[in-house]
Subunit: 164 residues, 6 copies
């Protein structure tokens, strides 16, 4: 039997080897947002959304998603997270019909790789959960932009986003 | 023993009862995007990203996330998806240093509730996966806006987004 | 080659065949409870537990666990749940140092098998989540009894528990 | 655009930061139980339950649930468990129509937080699995009380329950 | 901004659309096997493997894996399984130093697509679980061949493997 | 109440205690294979399989399965994997109608137990995914043999398979 064809090495997906890295304390902060309409703003503020307290549910969803990041993002390394925090803030300008929820997530670990993906995944899932809980009152909501605000730890040093 | 306090009914989180709804054929299309830098554009196009073929991995991640939506989004109903499609397209204008990947997801089911969340979750996870696979070459990537483009099926009728 | 030994048929674990059953509308109500100390009662009521709003998190946990029942309980059939509700109520008698949270869960589906396990799993996970969020203020909490209160649907008819 | 409203800090759900804790060897022992009727006692003892060997399946379910605790209990930290043991014992007094299965689970880790929730979750899932496998022969089974028997390790020292 | 590059349509991964298929009763039977050494044969038969009763654990693992197939195999459709059965049989010829466990799995559903992958996944996981529980006594075990024995249901008709 | 019956200690399933082991760098290499027919060989090579690029999807599936091993294999310890690689190679002899894909997986960690199961699970899932993506063109594919090729690390020393 002859070996005729090698699969092209280029483009092979793999979880890159981090065995040689050293364990350091790491943090990451990500941001997302979701724009809603005035009715949804009222429903969330007054607690009358039919699926329940929107921020409370979105926080839990974000925390649980952060812990599941390595099962959602294929090439992401599993990490034992040591802390997760999720924050919501209203940015509203009723005269401009602007009702926006700013989402900030912060994730911490002591591990071989960073927690950027965990923070970004948590922020995305927080926004998606808000969408789910409010969509009966309008499907025009827009999520994002979603981005990494900062990170610390690891041999490549710290990162702080300079503009949006 | 006396029952003194009732928990406030308002704000209770629940998965709303859809038992009375009827099973119809439903589709949803969602869109997201991710802006990358020129180096990342080259790496993706040339297949030299160190984690592998970016679009191939992101497609798989998106499909798997769509199927996991009801375990990621707390109040989302489980649905037996019948089809999932994920599409990437480059929107580039090198003279403006603009390198953007447009992501479109389409999800189908025959069920009691719509698949908006499945399409939105798939689009978000596709973008997050691109971020993960390319972040060694720059952490300034920006994900989104992410939004629902259209849906069909269900008693509330079809939806088509009119503007971005 | 000779076939010498048959594995004992008796005791084989299997997910029993329900292909012949017909799809009916089904509900189940389960109950659990957790006894806490006075300090925990105060912390929950005043929202000062260091992990967050206890009932809000426990409700989300219960809803998500209900949807995961067939992945937690090995021989349980997967079912597309159509509704999940979780209710908390304080039963307190300070003079007897009695501070108890009564938990009621209700689950609905239209399917081939009943949702008793989904309701019981949700109630158990609600109680476990309360324990987790309050354990810094006392590990003596006691969960249960946990039991099925009632069910409807299915060829064996309805069930209503007659005593506790 | 003006920032008008801050989300109430109080009651925010978070996975508390344990980055500062030190890794120690930790154990926890939890207990639960399930009362069954005489017919179920016979079926389990004689291995004639239609879903299979009850204790064998419940042990596996408990071990797997212990490993999944941080995905079931929202604010629970992920921990790399190093050992899990599940034990069943019959407590019967036929003259009083009392047929009870006492469940004991023991979980070990070397980590930043304790394994109380893992032991309690395993014990609860063991009991729920027994319920599932036997419910065709009677739905009056009662689970619990479920509680922490003891723990070792961690800066707050050991705990041993003094009464039930 | 100009759209310059289309991602190559060819090779796009997708979960193919089965919305047009009709729901039929479907079954699939898969087979696998694992060859072990004499010591492992004795340990399994005598129940002295240090991780526990090998076949009991492998059966549970196989049933649970069947239910998780669509989360393990990326392009596989989710299906509400209605029955799962796992069977082990010893094929031994001590004079030839041959100790083999033949594994047969049978899966049933009423759905839009077949359950071949569920049966094959269950058989593979059963074999892997045997490997895990016995590997302390020898790592030379060989799994497979693993293949589909038969299927029924669906518009393409029945299938019966004609040779091994 | 009298305690009458002890559950038989023998055969109890448990996740064995590895608390006393020390953390070492560990690797494992596993192999599997899948025989396909000529048409499937052509479809994979030409990228015309209707579900997408077969090897790309199978690689992602294998990496994700490796990370999920301790949730699939019941008594397997959870481990923070540090690297996963999946390799495909065609072994073909058209004159003998032989078209075979050789699958090699390599997994790395720094942990208390070995990664044999992770490598074997990844190899099995890679093969199953190939089966799933190609089965529309023939269900006679045969998976395996699947076996451990080598391992390093741990107090029992290295292992290298001497024959197939």
């Amino acid at each position: 039997m002859t070996e005729l064809t090698h699969f092209n090495e280029q483009g092979r997906a793999k979880m890159v080897d981090v065995s040689g890295k050293s364990e350091t304390f790491r943090t990451a902060i990500a941001k997302s947002s979701i724009r809603v309409n005035e009715q949804i703003h009222s429903q969330i503020s007054e607690g009358t959304t039919k699926k329940g307290d929107v921020f409370a549910v979105a926080q839990v969803a974000a925390v649980m998603a952060a812990k599941q990041t390595s099962t959602i993002i294929p090439m992401c390394h599993p990490l034992p997270l040591t802390g997760i925090n999720v924050h919501f803030e209203w940015l509203i300008a009723p005269e401009d019909d602007h009702f926006e929820i700013a989402i900030t997530t912060e994730v911490k670990t002591k591990g071989l790789t960073g927690v950027e993906m965990e923070a970004l995944t948590a922020a995305s899932v927080a926004a998606l959960t808000v969408y789910d809980m409010c969509k009966a009152a309008g499907k025009d909501m827009v999520i994002g932009p979603t981005y990494l605000q900062s990170k610390t730890g690891g041999k490549n040093g710290d990162y702080e986003r300079t503009d949006n």
